[in-house]
């Protein structure tokens, strides 16, 4: 029966090509606009590290001391902590894994002085590779002993290794950071989260970020004169930004992340954090109520507006536009179906039930929907291509993926069927006798 409906539908589509073309095109444009907006939104708003970031939490507290009282630019407790606080939180090992980090932009030189590269990466306290799931290609992460001993070791990615040494396997070689030799203990694959969520304060307005090309123990880097990209909040009251300075002993500049797998662990860590903050407040270091809080990675991204408002607005605009296209197509389909009332009436009179007539028309709109989806494919590709050309911070998120293709076809079928329900119901409701008489 389905086979028969299919042939009927195709035959009918051939009858009025202009009308069918308009229907399919309208649906295709609506679907393509929505798919384009959804692709970008999905790429930005999804988990930045699938399987890992849902378990990551960042701590915030008002850790201001007497020197930066009354700073009008400090609006709410943020994630930056002093090295001492960050170390205390990490060293307590109350969570399965914990890590303090700050983003750095620094120069890496090969020891022979022939190659010099600027690289973005993290100064970290803890074990970043395991916690963030950064895959190693060669070597190993640094050990707890190396971290505690402030050993000059570094983990770089294979791109940087290639640029500096001409080979990806740079384990055992030395790179110069701040002019001092650091031994490469591990080489990772080129890596970055899908969306920036670590050290967001140094990454405002740059949701896509760049590859994190190195990880270095924070204290070893400071010893070599390498500091975070910006010095953070240095407690002078005035909002002065310092760049690339290792003189950060008076600054809050690291944020502390922890991996917490169960609600019990979250509660335990939250309690630990509150106890620590209260103790500092009681000791007179923190001059304001610390209000310690934990934010999951997604909540932290939402709070910091990582997904630009424009992306959300465009998604809503595209959705509303698709709705308009659907109403439009429903109207045109109703007109198209009702024009054939006489045919339907004859079929009804010959014994076809309402249900079969309904099914027959749904098959037709389903086919139109699929045709719209097929046409929407190049249109979506075009839309993403246009977005990639735009000077917007999220341009890189506009990538076409095979998953999008599958979603698109399914989506268009659903749209086609939804759009067809009303007209199909309308046409099968006609009393057959009257229509035959009119015809």
């Amino acid at each position: 029966m389905f086979d028969y409906y299919l042939r009927l539908a195709l035959r009918r589509c051939r009858q009025n090509l202009a009308m069918v073309g308009l229907l399919v095109l309208t649906m295709a444009i609506g679907i393509a606009a929505t798919m384009t907006a959804m692709t970008i939104f999905g790429a930005l708003a999804g988990d930045p590290l699938p399987g890992i970031s849902p378990h990551l939490y960042v701590a915030t507290m008002d850790a201001r001391e007497a020197v930066d009282k009354d700073n009008p630019d400090y609006k709410q407790p943020d994630s930056w902590l002093k090295l001492g606080d960050a170390k205390a939180l990490v060293d307590a090992h109350r969570a399965p894994q914990q890590l303090a980090l700050a983003q750095s932009l620094t120069t890496m030189d090969s020891p022979d002085g022939k190659h010099s590269e600027q690289a973005w990466g993290f100064m970290a306290y803890g074990e970043p590779l395991g916690m963030l799931g950064v895959p190693l290609r060669f070597g190993r992460p640094w050990t707890a002993q190396e971290l505690a001993a402030r050993a000059p070791v570094v983990v770089i990615d294979s791109d940087l290794a290639q640029k500096l040494f001409g080979t990806a396997d740079a384990v055992g070689r030395s790179v110069l950071l701040g002019g001092k030799p650091f031994r490469v203990v591990g080489v990772t694959v080129p890596w970055k989260p899908h969306t920036v969520f670590l050290d967001l304060q140094r990454n405002q307005g740059n949701p896509q970020g760049s590859n994190d090309e190195f990880f270095v123990p924070a204290e070893a880097a400071l010893d070599a004169g390498v500091g975070p990209f910006t010095s953070g909040e240095c407690g002078k009251g005035a909002p002065v930004i310092g760049f690339q300075s290792a003189a950060v002993q008076h600054c809050r500049w690291l944020e502390v992340w922890s991996r917490l797998d169960t609600p019990a662990q979250v509660a335990d860590w939250r309690q630990f954090l509150a106890n620590y903050a209260d103790a500092q407040r009681a000791a007179g270091r923190f001059v304001y109520p610390p209000q310690p809080k934990l934010y999951g990675a997604r909540a932290w991204m939402t709070l910091n507006h990582v997904v630009p408002d424009d992306v959300r607005l465009n998604l809503m605009l595209a959705g509303a536009f698709l709705l308009l296209c659907m109403v439009n197509v429903a109207g045109l389909l109703a007109a198209r179906f009702l024009r054939r009332q006489a045919d339907v009436a004859i079929r009804r009179a010959l014994g076809a039930s309402k249900r079969t007539v309904f099914a027959q028309h749904l098959v037709e709109t389903g086919i139109l929907g699929l045709a719209g989806g097929v046409l929407a494919l190049p249109l979506t590709w075009l839309g993403l291509w246009i977005v990639r050309l735009q000077p917007v911070s999220y341009a890189e998120a506009a990538k076409f993926s095979p998953g999008v293709f599958g979603a698109l076809l399914l989506f268009s079928l659903i749209v086609g069927l939804l759009v067809g329900v009303l007209p199909a119901w309308r046409v099968c409701r006609q009393p057959p006798a009257l229509q035959i008489k009119v015809a």
Binding site: L22, T26, V240, R312, L313, F321, N328, G331, A335, R339
Partner: protein
């Protein structure tokens, strides 16, 4: 011509008019909000930036100091070096300038006497900016040499002293038209800086383009050079007759020579013509304008096609009735007018619904995003646009209907 003739059939066959109403309402809601967003994106593109002969202005930005900020004395030395270049008629160093969005200084400007407020006014602290930027003074005077040589301990935004403000800001703070000599407080804090207005310039664009509820022409100039500021911007005016590109290259070389070793590593300073800097800063606004304009046009085309298709069918259904009416004496233009009036009614209902939706959507967007209230003018304009669109869509089917010969009435009855 009784409206009842038109309304009754609409009520009897509800599906078609209902679909038209729904489409019009949706299109109206989308178009109003899209056009409003578009207009907001257009603001910084269309606003006058106040810069005189911009094609002779070289800007050096994206310059940041490694470690501590440069002392102001050092910045003034660089400025002197730039000033001494052949073909340069004026040079300035400032904390921030129009189109420099990385380093922004903003403050709430409050008139001391009346407490009139302007939130988020841009503050440009720099030496000789009126000359270098080619600003047009409409009242008062430029800063004196003595005022220019002030040394700030901090950035300067909280210090007291003279200020030059834009006409837009003057009108906002001092609606009586007498801004000169009046005092503006920068922020509500007790120890906020007090600035006496000594001059008013025609325009000077803020570098905060999306100032919430503000105005991109609310700007204040302070003399001197900001202290403790890690991202200075240099502006160099090319003398008449000098080769602009040669001066730009000389500026580039001077900046690298003077500050190159002390700049943060991994950031390349931008030494550009002002026009290029402007294009760079406004590129994403232009992109958004194209996108929103495209969306609006497609929405209108889709709606037009939709109404046309539906009306075409709706008219065709009534061919016989129209024939009967013609046979009974209705003239062509009666039929035409009737169909047009019918369309006006249906689209009108859709428009009313759509405007309510547009307003509701705007209220919702205002709650969740940094958007301002939809100006009421959008409502009548949107309504007129949709009604016009409806009339356009009905024209061809209505003309076809009016050409139905009366003889149709005698067929197949």
């Amino acid at each position: 011509m009784a409206v009842r003739h038109i309304v009754n059939p609409l009520l009897r066959h509800r599906l078609m008019p209902l679909l038209v109403v729904l489409q019009v309402a949706l299109a109206c809601a989308i178009a109003c909000n899209a056009l409003f967003l578009l207009q907001q994106k257009l603001v910084p593109i269309l606003a006058p930036d106040g810069i005189g002969t911009p094609d002779r202005l070289v800007m050096a930005w994206n310059i940041a100091s490694r470690g501590k900020p440069w002392p102001t004395g050092r910045l003034l030395e660089v400025r002197q070096a730039l000033r001494a270049l052949p073909g340069v008629s004026a040079a300035s160093v400032a904390g921030s300038l129009p189109m420099e969005t990385n380093a922004q200084m903003n403050g709430e400007a409050i008139a001391e006497d009346t407490h009139a407020k302007a939130g988020d006014a841009a503050v440009y602290i720099g030496a000789d900016l009126v000359d270098t930027l080619g600003l047009h003074l409409v009242a008062g005077r430029d800063f004196s040499a003595e005022e220019q040589s002030i040394q700030y301990h901090g950035m300067g935004i909280n210090d007291s002293g003279p200020a030059i403000i834009t006409r837009a800001l003057a009108n906002r703070l001092f609606p009586d038209g007498h801004a000169l000599g009046k005092v503006i407080r920068i922020g509500a804090a007790a120890d906020a800086g007090r600035r006496t207005v000594v001059g008013v310039v025609a325009h000077l664009m803020s570098n905060k383009f999306d100032a919430d509820g503000g105005n991109v022409d609310y700007t204040m100039l302070f003399p001197g050079v900001p202290g403790n500021w890690p991202m200075p911007v240099f502006a160099v005016r090319v003398a008449p007759g000098a080769d602009v590109e040669r001066v730009r290259k000389a500026v580039d070389a001077t900046i690298h020579r003077e500050l190159g070793n002390e700049m943060i590593r991994g950031f390349e300073p931008s030494i550009q013509m002002y026009g290029d800097m402007r294009a760079h800063a406004l590129a994403k606004f232009k992109a958004a304008v194209w996108l929103l304009a495209g969306v609006s046009v497609v929405v209108l085309i889709v709606t037009l096609a939709g109404i046309m298709g539906l009306t075409g069918y709706w008219v065709q259904q009534r061919t016989r009735q129209i024939g009967i009416r013609r046979a009974l004496g209705a003239r062509r233009r009666h039929i035409l007018r009737e169909l047009q009036l019918e369309n006006l009614l249906v689209v009108g209902v859709g428009v009313l619904l759509g405007l309510a939706c547009a307003y509701a959507i705007n209220l919702w967007l205002m709650r969740h995003y940094e958007l301002t209230r939809l100006p009421w003018i959008y409502l009548p304009v949107g309504a007129a646009l949709m009604l016009l669109l409806g009339q356009l869509a009905v024209l061809s089917p209505a003309l076809r209907a009016s050409r139905v010969p009366p003889v149709v009435a005698t067929r197949s009855v």
